[in-house]
Structure formats: structure tokens, C-alpha cells
């Protein structure tokens, strides 16, 4: 009923219909004005966003592609076309492949444990606990701290010589770990920073999805004699799939661009003496603002952009399959209903 009303207003012939309904209020001139208002207003409302967004958000990404095909001259502030040379240069650098390896390694080490932990925390928060708000806020506390600040604290905790972690390890009789020497351990340390900041945040997102699961399912499962673990495994987890994929995609986009934490992991910010924790964005910074080679930096930015898109598309394919598998259960169903109602 309501939907048809508004849609009628929107359709091109509606201004004719509208005055019919309330003829006494509207004179000819104001009717014209109102008609114009109806047609033009939506575009006026969206244009500030779109104009700015295209200029400062999307145009730079596209223009990065143009610059990446050039040898950029900083003095004249123009470039000369060199084809794909910059891409070839990047791909032939050993540092690029090291950075790619490090980026993926840190990404996996941060996203997988983070997701599992976030699931557990969300499951605990989803119970009928006392002082809900207190627990939820506490879990979000790390999110408030800037990544730079987190990195400074953790690079101190993971100090090779007097760091708290190594002191603890040696106290219980284990050998100290070269957190700033060994690539793998440096990745662990950096992944810990990421996990510290984002686990609680993702737990809240998953908690919200858990609460959207119709509770009748649990009731039915309980009647069937399913225990808490079984309920979590067979009801909660399948219903969470779309949200899980959403969390995975957002953490992919962010995680593959990681810069703040590796940059602040030591004093020099070059990704370690042997590039142990050099990431792609850190490498981009080194090329762009260390060597001031904008052509190469742009090529690297586009390579990273393509990698992120590729991973994103893979995720999307998985999402589609999982959502279809899921049929109309759990979170999926209310979402579809919403979609239908709003359009």
C-alpha cells in the first residue's frame, strides 16, 4: 500500500496525479514548483557526496593507473610514457616478493586467530550475562587506541633484550625469542598488535549477528537434547556465515594494506634490517617517499589494488555459494525480507 503510493509519486506522470488529490492547496505556479522540487531534489541531495567522492576517492585510484605507466619527473611535475616498465621493475624486485610474503603471512596470522577468538568472545557475550554493557565496552576498549600507539607499546613488550615477553620466557626457563630478528616471530608480534585492536570489534559484529538468530531454533534444539556446543556448531555457526564472510572481506581489505604497525615496529621504520617485516604498503612508502619514484610507487599501488580485488572476488564467490547453501536460515532470512521491504 505504502510502497505503491510513493512509487506513484516517483513515476514520471505522478505530478499530474498528485494535485488531483489535494487540489485546494495548490495553485498552478506552486504546483509547477513542487513538480520541479520533486524531480530535482534527489539529485541535489546525492550530488555533494558523489562529486566529492569521485574527485577525492575514485579519481586518484584511476589516475594512479595513469601515473603507473609513466616515469614521473618531480621537477617538471609531469611524466613520460614508459608502458609497463614500472610494473616489470616492481615484479623483478626481490624485495617485492619478500614484502608480498610478509604481508600475507601477517595477514593470515592476524585474521585466522582473530576470527576464532572473536567467535568465542561473541559466544560468551551472547550468553545471558550480567552487566552486558560493561563487558561489551571493555571488549571495545582496544579499538580506541591508535594503531601507532598500539605498535609502540607492543614493540616494547616484544623487545629483544628487555621486553616483557622475553623476560617472562627466560624466567620460566625458555630461550628468549628474536622478535626483531626472525621474520616469523616478527610477524607474530605484528599480528598480535592487529589482533589486540580488532578482535573485540569483530566480536561485537559477530555478537550482533548471533542475536539476530531466531531463538526458537535454540528452543527446538534444546527440546531435541542438543547441548550448548552442539547448538553453537549446528545453529549459531551456519547462521553466522554471511557475517563471517563480511568480516573476512573487510579485514582482507584492511589487512593487506597494513602499514602503521610494521612502520612503528622499530625505530627506523624500514621493515627490518633484512626486510623481515617489510609489507607492501611499507615498500610503497619507501619507493614513493624514500626514493621519490612516483611511477614505481603508483605501479605498486595498482598491483596491491589488483591483489585486494582478486582476494575480494574469491571471497565474494565463496559468499554466494555459502549463502545459497544456507537457504533461508538464520541471518539470511530477515535480511532478505528487509531488502524486499526497502525496495
Amino acid at each position: 500500500m505504502t510502497a505503491t503510493d510513493t512509487r506513484a509519486t516517483a513515476s514520471p506522470d505522478s505530478p499530474v496525479r498528485k494535485p488531483e488529490r489535494t487540489p485546494r492547496h495548490i495553485m498552478s505556479f506552486s504546483s509547477k514548483l513542487s513538480r520541479w522540487d520533486l524531480k530535482v531534489s534527489p539529485y541535489l541531495y546525492i550530488s555533494p557526496f558523489f562529486i566529492l567522492f569521485v574527485i577525492v576517492g575514485l579519481f586518484p585510484i584511476a589516475y594512479t593507473a595513469v601515473i603507473s605507466l609513466q616515469e614521473w619527473d618531480l621537477v617538471r611535475n609531469t611524466g613520460t610514457f614508459v608502458g609497463l616498465d614500472q610494473y616489470i621493475w616492481i615484479l623483478s624486485q626481490e624485495q617485492f616478493w619478500v614484502a608480498l610474503r610478509n604481508t600475507f603471512s601477517i595477514f593470515i596470522l592476524s585474521s585466522v586467530p582473530q576470527l576464532i577468538l572473536a567467535l568465542f568472545i561473541a559466544a560468551m557475550l551472547d550468553r545471558n550475562i550480567r552487566a552486558k554493557t560493561f563487558w561489551r565496552m571493555s571488549v571495545l576498549l582496544p579499538f580506541v587506541m591508535a594503531p601507532v600507539a598500539v605498535a609502540l607499546i607492543f614493540s616494547n613488550l616484544f623487545g629483544d633484550n628487555h621486553g616483557l615477553v622475553n623476560t617472562f620466557l627466560t624466567d620460566i626457563g625458555l630461550p628468549a625469542i628474536g622478535w626483531h630478528k626472525d621474520p616469523f616471530w616478527s610477524h607474530i608480534a605484528i599480528a598480535t598488535m592487529v589482533n589486540f585492536r580488532w578482535t573485540g570489534y569483530n566480536a561485537l559484529i559477530l555478537l550482533a549477528a548471533m542475536q539476530a538468530v531466531p531463538r526458537d531454533y535454540y528452543e527446538a534444539a534444546m527440546l531435541d537434547g542438543a547441548n550448548a556446543f552442539r547448538q553453537f556448531w549446528s545453529i549459531t555457526l551456519p547462521s553466522l556465515r554471511p557475517t563471517l564472510i563480511f568480516v573476512i572481506i573487510t579485514s582482507t581489505i584492511g589487512g593487506l594494506q597494513i602499514f602503521d604497525e610494521p612502520r612503528m615496529y622499530d625505530q627506523n621504520g624500514n621493515g627490518g634490517a633484512d626486510q623481515q617485516w617489510l609489507t607492501i604498503t611499507l615498500y610503497l612508502y619507501k619507493i614513493g617517499w624514500g626514493e621519490f619514484n612516483f611511477g614505481r610507487a603508483a605501479a605498486l599501488a595498482w598491483i596491491l589494488f589488483l591483489i585486494i580485488m582478486l582476494i575480494g572476488l574469491i571471497n565474494l564467490a565463496i559468499t554466494r555459494r555459502l549463502v545459497r547453501d544456507d537457504g533461508g536460515r538464520g541471518v539470511v532470512r530477515p535480511r532478505r525480507r528487509k531488502k524486499g521491504a526497502s525496495q
Partner: protein, 305 residues
């Protein structure tokens, strides 16, 4: 005409989707029955301790002196030097603490306000007005959520260098003035919150589009706008990559200032960590007042997103 603003308010609030959900939860948690046992609280306590620990650690070290960290018998009780260390940070000429604080406050506020305004306008149009191309444009916005706009740094830098904006606070504000996420968020919220009858009623009463937006849309959008503001503010405050590239030492933001602190006082962690805490205090204050809204904002975004 002023009568319009009151009745819609009531209708809007009645139609809040959260209301029903909350009621259902209240009922269903009872169905799920018992309060959880000791181990759930234990687990949560561990989580909370690890969330607080880095804060505590930076206070512990930041309130000691240069030798605290190397002391094998280091006390777990904070020393009395925090204020002194904080003053050292503030007075460090290389860090430019006060300009940094001002820049952070100013840029984050402007960015958050502008994102809220543009997103509310566009979100209102997408959610409640029908126009040609609406669907396609909305799909476009959602698709760009996946585009890491951070990667446009090279042309942005060239552009701002050309304009002479490098080192200026405007260089970090302008690229962040809009957010695809914000538009998506407001669209979702408004399309679920405002019933179409309300707009129709306002139109029938002769309200212009602008007046309808102002009296119905803006009023309904307020809770979502507050959450979007908070979220954007925190994100803008914590940005590092782009400000680090485009700003210089004389006029940094707080995260950039922190990075300068490390290269200056590498050895003395009591100063570095005092600075870390000092730079985090403004957001902690914000969190104390608005943390609850931030939590519900993130959760609301999740269900809809």
C-alpha cells in the same frame, strides 16, 4: 505547518526496528534460561584483562624513569613520574604536541561532521526518494566499499604538492570528507526507520522536499548520525599513513607526533609510553562518555551491513 514536526516524531519512534528486536531478546533470553556459570565470566575477565593490560603497561612504564624497564626487580605498581614524563613530551620541540592535539581535534571533527552531513543527505535520497538511476548509483556506492581508496596516495600527493597544500591540515581533511560506508549506513537506517506514509503525509500537507527532509529525515536520522559521527571521528583520529606522508613535523597530528617521539627518544621508553598514553587520553575521555553508543553503533551496523 509546524504541527508536522510533532506527530511524525511519535510515529518514527514507534517504528524503530530495534525496539521490536530488543523486546524479543528480552523474552528469548529468558527462554535460554539460566545465567551462565563461573567459566564464562572467567573467560570474559581474561579478555578484559588483556584489553586493559597494554594501557596499564604504558602507564606503568610511562610513570617510571629511564631505568625502570631495565630493572630486573621492576615493580608492578606505577611510579610517580607520569606527570613529569608527560611534561617532557609536551615540551619536546621536535614533537609539537599542542599543534598536533589541535590538528587532531580539528581535522577529526570536521571530517566526522562532513561525513555525517553528506551521508545523511545522500542516504535520505537513496532510502526515501525515488529517482531515475537510484538503484544503479546505490549499487555503485556499495561496490566502492571494497575499493581501498587509501591507494590513491600518489596522485593525491602530486595534486596537493601542486596546490601547495603539503603540510597543511586541509590536505588530510579534504580526501576524507566523504565516505561510501557512511552513505550505505544512512541509507540502510533511514529506509528501515522512516515509514513511507510519513513522507507522503508531509507532501500532501504541502511541505517542500527540503522541509520534509528537515522535519522527517533529519529527525529520524539523529541516532544513526550520532553513531556515524563517533565512528568516523575515532577512525579519523587514528589515521596515520596519509597524514604521515603529507604533513610535516611542524604541524603533525597526534599519531604522526607519536612516530616522531619514537625516533627522538628511542632509548627512553618511559617518555615514549607516557606520550602514547597522553595521546590516547582524549579518545579515552570520548569513550567514557560515548562508548555505549559506539558499541551499539558497531552492532547495529553489523546486522544491517
Amino acid at each position: 505547518m509546524s504541527a508536522i514536526s510533532t506527530p511524525p516524531l511519535a510515529i518514527v519512534e514507534e517504528n524503530l526496528p530495534n525496539d521490536g528486536r530488543r523486546r524479543r531478546n528480552a523474552r528469548t533470553t529468558r527462554i535460554r534460561g539460566t545465567r551462565p556459570g563461573f567459566w564464562v565470566y572467567m573467560g570474559l575477565a581474561v579478555v578484559v584483562v588483556s584489553a586493559i593490560f597494554p594501557y596499564y603497561w604504558s602507564f606503568l612504564i610511562g610513570s617510571g624513569d629511564a631505568s625502570t624497564l631495565n630493572d630486573p626487580n621492576m615493580s608492578w605498581i606505577p611510579g610517580g613520574n607520569f606527570i613529569a614524563n608527560a611534561i617532557t613530551v609536551v615540551n619536546n620541540p621536535a614533537v609539537n604536541f599542542w599543534p598536533a592535539l589541535w590538528n587532531s581535534i580539528f581535522s577529526s571533527t570536521v571530517i566526522a561532521a562532513s561525513v555525517v552531513v553528506f551521508s545523511t543527505l545522500a542516504g535520505w535520497a537513496f532510502a526515501k526518494l525515488r529517482f531515475r538511476g537510484a538503484k544503479g548509483l546505490l549499487v555503485f556506492v556499495v561496490a566502492t566499499l571494497a575499493v581501498p581508496t587509501q591507494l590513491g596516495v600518489v596522485p593525491l600527493y602530486i595534486l596537493f604538492a601542486d596546490l601547495g597544500w603539503t603540510g597543511q591540515i586541509g590536505a588530510i581533511i579534504v580526501p576524507a570528507l566523504t565516505s561510501a560506508f557512511g552513505v550505505f549506513w544512512m541509507t540502510q537506517y533511514l529506509s528501515q526507520t522512516v515509514p513511507d506514509e510519513l513522507i507522503e503525509a508531509a507532501r500532501v500537507d504541502g511541505a517542500s522536499m527540503l522541509r520534509t527532509f528537515w522535519t522527517v529525515g533529519v529527525v529520524a536520522a539523529r541516532p544513526a548520525a550520532a553513531m556515524l559521527f563517533l565512528f568516523t571521528f575515532v577512525n579519523a583520529w587514528n589515521q596515520f599513513f596519509w597524514p604521515f606522508i603529507v604533513l610535516d613535523r611542524q604541524s603533525p597530528t597526534l599519531p604522526v607526533a607519536l612516530s616522531l617521539l619514537q625516533s627522538n627518544y628511542f632509548v627512553d621508553y618511559s617518555i615514549v609510553l607516557a606520550g602514547v598514553l597522553l595521546a590516547t587520553i582524549p579518545l579515552l575521555i570520548l569513550f567514557a562518555f560515548a562508548g555505549k553508543q559506539l558499541v551499539s553503533g558497531i552492532m547495529a551496523g553489523a546486522v544491517k551491513g
